[in-house]
Each structure stands twice: as C-alpha cells, then as structure tokens.
C-alpha cells in the first residue's frame, strides 16, 4: 500500500512539473499551449542524440534544455506574439498551437523514427526505504522535481521579476498601464514553460523511455492536473499533479494500466461538473470568467 502511494507521489511530482509549465503560460496569457507537448516530445531525442555523439550526460542534458527553451520562445516570438497583435481569439491561439505541435511531432518522427527509445543504459540501482522499493531513477526524478518546483516558487515569491509575473497573471492591463513590458514578461513565461516541460520530459524518459507521440498525452494530463487543482493559481497545478499521480497509480494497481487515461479524464469530468473552479480556486463572478 505504501509502495503504491510512493510510486504515485513520484509520478505525481513529475506531472506537477508539467502542469506548472502549462499553467505558467495559461494563467497570464490564456493561451492553451498545446505546442508545449512538442517541446516535451523533442527534448529527450535531443539528449539522446547528444549521448550518441559521445557527449558527457550533463552536456547532452544542457544542450537539450537550451533547445527546448529556445523552441518554446520561438513559439511565442514567431506565432503567439503575432496573433496577439492581431487580437486573435483564444480558439485561434489553440488552433495555431495545435498546428505547431503536429509539425514538431512529425519532424521528430521523420528525423528519429517512430520507435520507443530509452535514455538510461542497463538496469537501475534499487533503494530500500522502510519497506518501500524505489529505483534510482525514481528517487532522482522525485528529488529533481521537488527542487524544480521549489526553486520556481522561490523565484515567484521573492524576486522582483516574480512579483511582476504574478501581477501579469492577475491583471494584465493594469500592469501595462503602469509601464511594464507585457511582451518581455510573456517571453519569460514561455521560457519558463519550455524549461519546466523539458525537465519533466527528461525525468520521464530517464525512468520509462520516450517516443514522438508521447507529448500530447503528457500535456493533457498536465491540463487535467491544473484544472483539478484550480487553474487560477500557480499552487493548484502542483496539488492537482500529485493527486492525479496518486490516483493513477491506484488505478494501475487495482484495475489495469490501460484504464488510467480514462480514469484521469473521468476525474476531470467529475471536477468540471461538481467543482469547475478546482480545489484551490474561488468562484468568480460570471462576467469575470473567461
């Protein structure tokens, strides 16, 4: 029982990182950023290629992270910033983002092929803690996820940029009136989203492997997590991610792995009907809902 809970919390931590990546863009800009799934999908392939070229693992990881962040920044600079200038609707943002996602995934499939790959070589080391067996990849993944989430909140709560960022999420027009650059802060948002999703992608691919199609599933899971947790705050995403991870590990244990997707979406439907603002959200007035 403790074992299932531990596995759930660890997968949940990684989902939480991805959910945070989605929320970081969604909250300030209201863009349903599907192309984040493309970033998630391409990063492990870049790291894998770096390793194939004989680079040290930290060089390969740094290379993959940098390209992931640049791809995400490119989405904003070349796509969403233009659309925003034209006052495009949120549906248009969604459609263009979906288009970018499809292009990225097909490019990956053309360059690297459709097979599942793994980053790690050989069998993983195993830890035993109070009757719970964990692999090295799980412990490392949990630690890095915790560190990432922790440093994000530290940045958000204690730096000046973090303060501006929270203001952007709260009321964008007011912030622009006070002379802050919305464009710059949006770039920060997309950069952070790219970084967080790259980290999540590397953690998952280190543990279980990766293929070109995995990005959308991971992104949707993140969206479900952020809706469950409450998509009005940055904390909700983390809470929702961990809850979702625990739930999915229970489903895998008691039913089967094939039902875990359906179970996550069933939970989403339940939440949207019974508590659409999520666990941490407050009910808004009708006219301020978007």
């Amino acid at each position: 029982m403790l074992q299932i809970l531990a596995n759930g919390i660890i997968t949940g931590g990684i989902i939480a990182v991805m959910a945070l990546a989605f929320t970081v863009v969604y909250l300030p800009t209201r863009i349903f950023y599907i192309a984040l799934g493309g970033v998630y999908a391409i990063v492990p392939f870049l790291a894998w290629t770096g390793l194939q070229w004989g680079w040290a693992w930290y060089v390969a990881v740094a290379f993959a992270l940098v390209i992931g962040v640049m791809l995400s920044l490119g989405c904003e600079l070349l796509n969403h910033a233009w659309l925003e200038e034209k006052n495009a609707s949120s549906g248009t943002h969604l459609v263009s983002s979906l288009g970018i996602y499809i292009i990225v995934v097909q490019a990956i499939a053309i360059i690297w092929g459709n097979e599942t790959k793994v980053l790690r070589q050989g069998v993983d080391g195993v830890f035993n803690l109070a009757g719970v067996t964990l692999t090295q990849a799980q412990v490392g993944g949990a630690a890095i996820a915790l560190l990432t989430i922790g440093s994000f909140y530290l940045w958000l709560q204690s730096t000046k940029l973090g303060l501006e960022f929270r203001a952007l999420a709260d009321n964008k027009n007011e912030l622009a009136l006070r002379g802050f650059s919305i464009q710059k802060l949006r770039l920060v948002a997309f950069g952070i989203a790219g970084l967080l999703s790259s980290i999540a992608a590397l953690l998952v691919s280190w543990d279980v492997g990766f293929d070109p199609q995995g990005g959308l599933a991971a992104l949707l899971l993140a969206v479900v997590a952020s809706i469950i947790g409450g998509s009005q705050s940055f904390f909700g995403a983390v809470l929702g991610g961990i809850l979702l991870g625990i739930l999915r590990s229970q489903v895998v244990w008691f039913l089967s792995a094939q039902w875990s997707e359906a179970a996550s979406f069933a939970i989403l439907a339940l939440f949207l009907v019974l508590r659409p603002q999520g666990l941490l959200g407050q009910k808004l007035r009708l006219e301020s809902e978007s």
């Binding site: 659309l83 292009i103 989403l268 949207l272």
Partner: protein, 299 residues
C-alpha cells in the same frame, strides 16, 4: 479505375464526417474532439451485428446511429454548461473514455462479440461482410462507391435542409449569442442535444460505411489523432457554411495523392502529410481564420 473508386469512397466517408462535424463546430461553435469515438461506435456496431447476428446493412446502420445519438448526450450535456477550452477538455474526456472502452473490452479466452469480450480489444474485428440491403449484395468496389455516394448525397441534402431551415438560423443565433437566444424563449439546451445527436449519428453512419468497405476495424479508428485529423480537415476547409467542410474533405483526400507525384519516400510520406496539415493550421490561424471556404471564425 478501382483506384479512383477507392478515393471516391474515402471522399464520401470523409465528406459525411466533415458535414456532421460542421454542424457542431461551425453552427454551434462547439469544438468537439470526440468525433472519432462516434465514428468508431458506428463501425463497431455494424461490425458486431453483421458478423455475429447476420443483420443487413440498413438495420445495422440504424442501430449504430441510434447508439451514437444516445451516447452523444455525453457531449451535448457537457455543452450545457461549458464552452471554449473547458468544453474541448470535456469532449476529450469523452473521447478518451470511448477509446478505452474499445481498447479494453477484451478478454483473451472469450470469443469476440460476447459480453466478456465485446470489441476484441487491440486485435480488432476482421472479416466484416460487405454491405447487404434486402438481399442486394454490394460486393464490388463500384457498387460500394455507388452506395457511399448515395448516402453522402443524402446526408448533404439533410444538412442543407437543416441549416437553411429556421432551426438552422436558431443554431447560428445560439452560437453568436446564447443569452439572447434564451432570452427569446428558445430552449438552447434541447437544441444542443438535437444537434449533437444528429452530428454523432452521421459520424456513426460514416463509420459503418468505412467498416463495410475495409472489412476490418480496430481501436486505432477511435484514437485522439483521428479526432484531431477530422477537426483539422474542417478547420482547413472552413466551417459555418455548406461548402467549407466539403473543401476540407476533398483536400484531405487529394493531399496524399499530390504528394505521390513529388518524390517522397514511402516511409515518411504519412509524416509529411500530417506535417503539411499542421502547417495549414498555422497558416490558417495567421492569414485566414475562417478557413479556405468557410464563414465562421472559431472563438
């Protein structure tokens, strides 16, 4: 010749799907991603009752359409309260549940079509008989093409009559301002149920033709990727009028055939095709938000 008939059958199937999706997306503004699930409901129903019970084409298709329109309540009832991103997420939830059903209603030691193993899971159902209407067999590809064309034209006529009727105007009014439509005493919830039932039943009809023609169905017909492809098709073609979705469907059929003439290796042809679709979506978002021949811009 057979090659052109083959393309024609696919064009008919995709036209029916595009027209049905247009009713939901173009006339109601409900961007649903569950349509492949309903397509597969039609295909599986036709496959099961024709293989197991020996039903003819018409009753089998009728049953599939009935099941799909009842199941469409899952989508239309979510449309009661949600629109925009949240509705998209809920339709995705429906899609995921339907796919899980097709994929997981499976038991290795049971015969398919029984209660324990209804859909034969990932292995799919093979050997589906060709369509058969009152003893009239549609065995050759030409006759199936004729059947598909007749059904597609029938669907087209029905869609045309629906959207040019007062009911069609009510749909547009509800899409543009639901509050006003309700203020005028229209029951918008019931209208959404009607629209989704019609759209999903038509998708099920397309699925039945597909199953009857290909003679094989597996859960890959119900994946999210298929739904996204359907939605791409009508977004590229355009929604909100009669011709937009047809343009999209023809484009979906024509694109791989054009690529055939460019020297692209077979191994990556499918990827290139999808990539071009992605490119089309981005281009449409930037330069022509109503699609090639459409009227309505997605909100």
């Amino acid at each position: 010749m057979n090659y052109f008939l083959h393309l024609g059958i696919y064009a008919c199937i995709y036209s029916i799907v595009a027209m049905s999706l247009n009713l939901a997306v173009g006339y109601c503004g409900l961007l649903t991603l569950a349509h492949a699930g309903y397509f597969a409901i039609g295909a599986y129903t036709y496959a099961l009752v024709s293989v197991k019970l020996g039903w003819g084409f018409l009753p089998a298709v009728g049953l599939g359409m009935a099941i799909a329109s009842v199941a469409s309540l899952a989508v239309s009832m979510s449309a009661w309260r949600f629109k925009g991103d949240f509705f998209v997420m809920l339709s995705l939830a429906v899609q995921s549940l339907l796919f899980s059903l097709f994929y997981n209603w499976f038991k290795a030691d049971a015969d398919f079509g029984t209660w324990a193993n209804l859909t034969n899971g990932p292995f799919g159902i093979a050997g589906i008989p060709k369509p058969n209407i009152f003893g009239l067999q549609f065995q050759t590809i030409g006759s199936i093409a004729l059947l598909a064309a007749v059904l597609a034209i029938a669907c087209g006529v029905i869609c045309w009559l629906l959207v040019s009727s007062p009911w069609g105007r009510l749909l547009k009014a509800m899409r543009d301002d639901e509050l006003v439509a309700r203020g005028l005493g229209k029951n918008t919830r019931f209208v959404k149920m009607q629209v989704m039932a019609i759209a999903c039943a038509m998708a099920a009809l397309a699925g039945s033709i597909y199953a009857g023609y290909v003679s094989y169905i597996d859960p890959s017909a119900a994946t999210l990727d298929e739904s996204i492809l359907f939605v791409c098709m009508i977004l590229v073609g355009g929604v909100g009028n009669f011709k937009g979705p047809l343009v999209g469907a023809v484009l979906l059929i024509a694109l791989p055939e054009v690529l055939r003439f460019v020297a692209i290796p077979d191994a990556i042809a499918a990827n290139v095709r999808l990539g071009i679709y992605g490119l089309c979506l981005v281009a449409i978002a930037h330069f022509r938000q109503q699609g090639i021949a459409g009227e309505y811009r997605i909100e």
